[in-house]
């Protein structure tokens, strides 16, 4: 019987099976941020077990609230900072070098095909874009990961989503993943891995695959995962060139991970996206999705472009191409948070930041920012935000606020008009 990519990764990492369905696997990387890690650190100290399994496999960043906004967040940063120093965790990213964890860590080459990764953050599933098994966990799992380098999971049953067809101009991976979530529902993939395959995924760049995998958890999935290929190897080349003679060699090695032809799936969904249109969420759940045309005219107070879903350079390029020569509507506050310092620098170099600022956007430092209403960009009661983020939960961006999730193109277009609308990129494609 053949195996899926997730089963292959599990098989090579399993060290114990403490229950019929439960597997304990070793971890290649444990990622940490300042919101969920300090409690784990303090608990380890209290238990007199303040050790780390391998300082080289632990990566830490202050990203959710940075620069600190008050004494409590300053204290969280301090705990993480002192701990990283004490345990000689060299890959610790503080002010000036920090950015959104799920954009920063792939950029640094910390995510490799076949890796097992946990983090105390549900969007850790993003890293499956590289052919890794990466899952969000709570603080207790994180604590054990830090101490022992292991984590327990259920046997990874997989739903394969084969995406085929031709994406219309002005329609993006964000629209694809929103439509998949609406198709299978917010608990449609609970306890399962979603394997994204097919020609459409093959043609996507790494930024786009990360957007796809990032929101797998919004359908309840443990992880999203894509097959590693030439694009993966090219993206990672700087970090793997000592291990392989050529990019092609790396691809050959990675291909061993790809699911076998006779692998067994929980479900296979073949999904043709040729007719897909730009989408937006409308309620408080990410599976409540409608075409932008049906939301047309919905008044907004804020537009937020950023986050681990859509704060990467490709996203900023697309948004800037919509904003070029335009102004943000009077009733709208536009906020953009480039996800990492490198993305920020690149966006400056390409004139993207200039375009954002000329159009009237506020540009923030790299941070999780408005996405979870913890630091900047919080909505007032009754306010509405068009956002490129991942969650539209009640109160997510501030008590009594409403969030509509959409692509960077749609968010930028909505900023100009002051209400939800399609971008000119899509409209131009329609008229072809």
């Amino acid at each position: 019987m053949g195996k899926t990519i997730a089963e292959k990764i599990f098989e090579s990492h399993t060290i114990d099976q403490p229950g019929e369905e439960t597997f304990v696997i070793t971890l290649d990387a444990v990622f940490c941020h300042e919101i969920t890690t300090p409690t784990a650190i303090l608990d380890l100290m209290e238990r007199k077990m303040d050790k780390v399994f391998d300082p080289n496999k632990i990566k830490a960043v202050i990203d959710h609230v940075t620069p600190a906004k008050d004494s409590k967040t300053a204290q969280q940063g301090l705990i993480l900072r002192n701990w990283a120093k004490k345990h000689k965790i060299k890959d610790f990213f503080d002010i000036g070098r920090n950015g959104v964890c799920h954009a920063l860590f792939p950029e640094k080459g910390f995510v490799l095909p076949g890796f097992t990764i946990i983090m105390g953050d549900s969007h850790t599933c993003t890293h499956g874009a590289f052919g890794a098994f990466a899952a969000g966990v709570g603080t207790t799992d994180l604590e054990v990961g830090i101490l022992k380098g292991v984590c327990s999971f259920q046997k990874p049953k997989t739903i394969k989503v084969e995406i085929k067809g031709n994406l219309k101009k002005g329609v993006y991976p964000k629209d694809i993943i929103l439509s998949i979530i609406s198709l299978i529902g917010v608990n449609g993939a609970t306890d399962k891995v979603i394997e994204f395959t097919g020609a459409v995924v093959d043609n996507m760049g790494m930024d786009e695959r990360m957007t796809l995998c990032n929101m797998a958890v919004e359908a309840g999935a443990t992880s999203g995962i894509c097959y590693p290929d030439i694009k993966t190897a090219t993206y990672l080349w700087e970090f793997i060139k000592n291990k392989y003679n050529s990019v092609e060699d790396a691809v050959t090695d990675f291909s061993k991970l790809i699911s076998d032809i006779d692998a067994v799936y929980e479900k296979i969904i073949v999904y043709d996206i040729s007719d897909l249109v730009p989408l937006s969420t409308f309620g408080y759940k990410p599976d409540q999705v409608k075409p932008i045309t049906e939301m047309e005219g919905t008044k907004i107070d804020q537009v937020y472009i950023g986050s681990c879903t859509n704060g990467r350079i490709e996203d900023l390029r697309i948004a800037a191409s919509v904003l070029e020569g335009e102004k943000v509507a009077d009733n709208v506050r536009g906020i953009v948070s480039p996800a990492t310092p490198d993305i920020f620098k690149q966006a400056i170099k390409e004139g993207i930041i200039d375009t954002f600022m000329e159009s009237g956007f506020c540009v923030t430092n790299p941070t999780c920012g408005a996405c979870l209403g913890m630091s900047n960009g919080v909505l007032a009661e009754g306010e509405v935000c068009a956002a490129t983020t991942n969650r539209n939960f009640n109160g997510r961006m501030g008590k009594g606020g409403m969030v509509h999730l959409m692509s960077p193109a749609s968010a930028a277009a909505s900023a100009i008009k002051g209400y939800i609308t399609n971008s000119k990129l899509y409209e131009a494609g329609e008229n072809k």
Partner: protein, 173 residues
């Protein structure tokens, strides 16, 4: 072991997420007990007010409870209120695992059983007793008492009895 018996809080909705259980603005707390007053502050549910949490020791709810963010603060906010057991139609993976990791109980019942429980008990003061060995919960209100059997893996049972995943992993790996 923690206490798994007492008065029940009924939350008649699917997909209650961890942002509703504990809003992100409180994730700046590093002391778990400080989360106590904020439990379910942003819950979107008709006729619900946080006063209803007082003296409750268990939650019974519908499907996909605890979806969204991985924040274990959701579990700690329950624990701080001495609510150590949640019975639901189903759970989000991370939430469920976090519960057992903290030595607490997240148990699933078939949707027919959940429907029955809501129709019989949700409008009256109800008490739960949880027998983990026999894998039975007993609900009682006025003169009605009903048993429901649930499944718990030997691994999860051990996590509950040993007080969570840190203790388990420390003794084994």
């Amino acid at each position: 072991m923690k206490n798994f018996n007492g008065k029940v809080l009924f939350l008649d909705r699917n997909d209650i997420n961890t942002d509703e259980i504990i809003p992100a603005k409180y994730l700046t707390e590093i002391d778990k007990k400080a989360l106590k007053p904020y439990l379910l502050e942003d819950l979107k549910l008709d006729n619900f007010s946080t006063n209803k949490i007082i003296e409750k020791k268990a939650i019974i709810t519908r499907t996909n409870f605890g979806c969204g963010s991985s924040r274990e603060h959701a579990i700690w906010a329950l624990e701080a209120n001495d609510i150590n057991v949640v019975v639901a139609g189903s759970f989000a993976r991370i939430f469920r695992q976090n519960m057992f990791n903290c030595g607490m109980v997240a148990t699933e019942l078939p949707s027919e059983a959940i429907d029955e429980i809501f129709s019989i008990f949700s409008n009256v003061d109800t008490n739960i007793t949880t027998d983990i060995e026999k894998q039975i919960i007993t609900l009682s209100a006025n003169k009605i008492s009903k048993n429901y059997s649930f499944r718990i893996s030997s691994f999860d049972k051990e996590l509950v009895s040993i007080g969570g995943w840190v203790n388990y992993a420390h003794s084994k790996y």
